[in-house]
């Protein structure tokens, strides 16, 4: 074993032991389903902000986005404003009402808001299906990193990833996951910041880098993508973030609405630091290695060939953290949907807290293993899988959640139709018209959300209103307004 490998092995073992230690601590402090799913609602703004950042930042950021900057330069950075617009929408419309509601899962909200078990079941099923696709991308990224850097077969890396992540997730639930997420966000930021001075020193500073990259292709330092391309992708990410179940579930674990609001701000600030660092590192890698076999290799080569062994090890741990934190968040939300919304409501409504936690833990293992098979088939590249699943999430969830929280006249029939119709519209557009996207500039997510919104409004107006008692917690004046029919605003 070389000294570089020894340093990396020591850093990774220390990291995994720390993570498992936090998992054991969470296990000791977890007694009820509320402890397991929402950490007893005790998470503060700093840990909450790091949790939201950790769930947002994934393999797509460290591998895909860094590679995208390597290949295409600066202009991709502007999609962050679409992401942050999604966070802003969530902070203004979604988070306060969901946190006030104080449920355990996102499907809980759907079931309560629309007074419908059918809508709740559909929401839970769609969450499980689409997030299985998202998990596939994370496992695939782990496999590619392990193969590129260590020559380890992807299946072993994937099993190690699911083993370590499931370990701390099923031991301590959201409580331990939140503190692990905080650690992981700090490691991601540290790893990226350690890379900046090394890369800048190698390329001779930011001005020299800009002049060199501009001489290769002026689009790298200017606009590789048109504003329409950037706007379309930004809108897709914005829709997704505004109504992302794996982020919304974490709002429930925070102390109150004020905490959620500040946590979102802290998360945006952390994302700005991470996004800026990824931009500069991607550009710097293009300056150092103008021709890599694949843009997705830029981050792995940075860690293994540019940074010092210790800094490179921390960068790699940051990459692993990004993958683990996203896998962890998805397992929490999918296993919660399985145990709380499907098992607890349909199969065994009299289940005790102990039984629900047991089913949740079994679900974490089962739902973690299924995507491993898909990841081994390699149906697409990592960034493409991440983007595609986010389009589907937005297409079936944005309207029932965001519009459903603003418009009291939305009904259960409207919600069910909007979820199913949005999903199908996105699927059909993806399979048919998406290929000519660059010509007409209309993305599947825009079609999915538009179809979902249209169905929601039309079907809701033709069906009986939701009972006032279900609306009361989401609309302060629901008791008096429910009889007025279609009125907008809370």
């Amino acid at each position: 074993m070389s000294s570089d490998s020894a340093i990396f092995t020591i850093v990774v073992i220390a990291y995994i032991l720390t993570v498992i230690g936090i998992g054991l601590w969470g296990y000791v402090h977890t007694e009820t389903e509320e402890d397991f799913l929402v950490a007893g609602r005790t998470i503060g703004p700093w840990v909450g902000g790091a949790v939201l950042a950790a769930t947002q930042i994934s393999a797509g950021t460290f591998v895909g986005t860094l590679g995208r900057h390597y290949l295409t330069g600066v202009s991709w950075i502007w999609i962050w404003f679409g992401v942050w617009a999604g966070w802003l929408t969530s902070a203004i419309v979604v988070a306060p009402k969901l946190r006030r509601f104080g449920a355990l899962t996102v499907a809980d909200y759907v079931g309560k808001r629309f007074a419908s078990e059918r809508a709740r079941t559909l929401a839970a099923a769609l969450i499980i299906i689409t997030y299985t696709i998202y998990l596939t991308a994370q496992f695939q990224a782990a496999g590619e990193i392990s193969m590129a850097i260590f020559g380890i077969r992807p299946i072993y890396a994937m099993l190690a990833l699911i083993g370590s992540t499931a370990c701390y997730t099923l031991l301590g639930g959201v409580r331990s996951s939140s503190y692990v997420d905080f650690l992981q966000t700090m490691l991601m930021i540290l790893g990226l910041l350690l890379g900046l001075p090394v890369v800048m020193q190698t390329v001779g500073g930011i001005r020299a880098l800009g002049e060199y990259l501009g001489s290769i292709d002026p689009r790298i330092t200017g606009w590789w993508f048109s504003w329409r391309d950037v706007a379309a992708t930004s809108i897709a990410f914005g829709f997704t973030i505004a109504a992302a179940p794996y982020e919304m579930t974490r709002y429930y674990s925070m102390r109150d609405e004020r905490t959620v609001r500040y946590a979102i701000g802290i998360s945006i600030a952390m994302q700005a630091i991470i996004g800026s660092s990824v931009l500069i590192l991607g550009l710097g890698m293009r300056g150092i290695f103008p021709v890599l076999p694949s843009a997705d290799q830029a981050s792995s080569v940075l860690a293994s060939a540019v940074m010092t062994p210790l800094a490179g090890s921390l960068f790699l741990v940051g990459m692993i953290s990004a993958i683990m934190s996203t896998v962890n968040s998805i397992l929490i939300v999918t296993a919660g949907a399985l145990s709380h919304d499907l098992y607890g409501r349909l199969v065994n409504p009299r289940a005790t807290d102990r039984q629900l936690i047991l089913v949740n833990r079994a679900g974490i293992v089962a739902l973690g293993l299924v995507p491993v098979w898909f990841a081994l088939q390699k149906f697409g590249d990592v960034q493409a899988i991440v983007v595609e699943q986010s389009k589907f999430i937005a297409s079936f969830f944005f309207v029932p959640i965001v519009v459903g929280l603003m418009w009291r006249r939305g009904t259960r029939e409207g919600a069910v139709t909007a979820m199913g119709g949005g999903f199908l519209a996105c699927l059909v557009w993806t399979l048919t018209m998406q290929a000519s996207f660059s010509r007409h500039g209309i993305d599947a997510v825009e079609v999915g959300v538009a179809a979902s919104a249209l169905l929601f409004v039309v079907v809701s107006l033709r069906t009986p209103p939701t009972p006032a008692e279900n609306l009361a917690i989401f609309f302060e004046d629901a008791q008096t307004a429910s009889g007025r029919g279609a009125a907008f605003g809370a």
Binding site: V74, S75, G214, R261, A272
Partner: protein, 50 residues
């Protein structure tokens, strides 16, 4: 001269402005909520609400 232009440097400025504006809004919203809560509290208490 093909160095970085406003598409590069402008991002950092815009991101800083975004984060600053967000926290100003969050701070203002928390103040408004606290004010509204303190006005509502005596009435709510008499109804037995939280």
């Amino acid at each position: 001269m093909h160095g970085f232009g406003w598409s590069f440097y402008g991002f950092f400025v815009a991101a800083a402005v975004w984060v600053t504006c967000y926290f100003l809004w969050a701070w203002g919203a928390s103040r408004r909520e606290a004010g509204a809560r303190s006005k509502r509290l005596p009435r709510a208490s008499s109804r037995g609400d939280e």
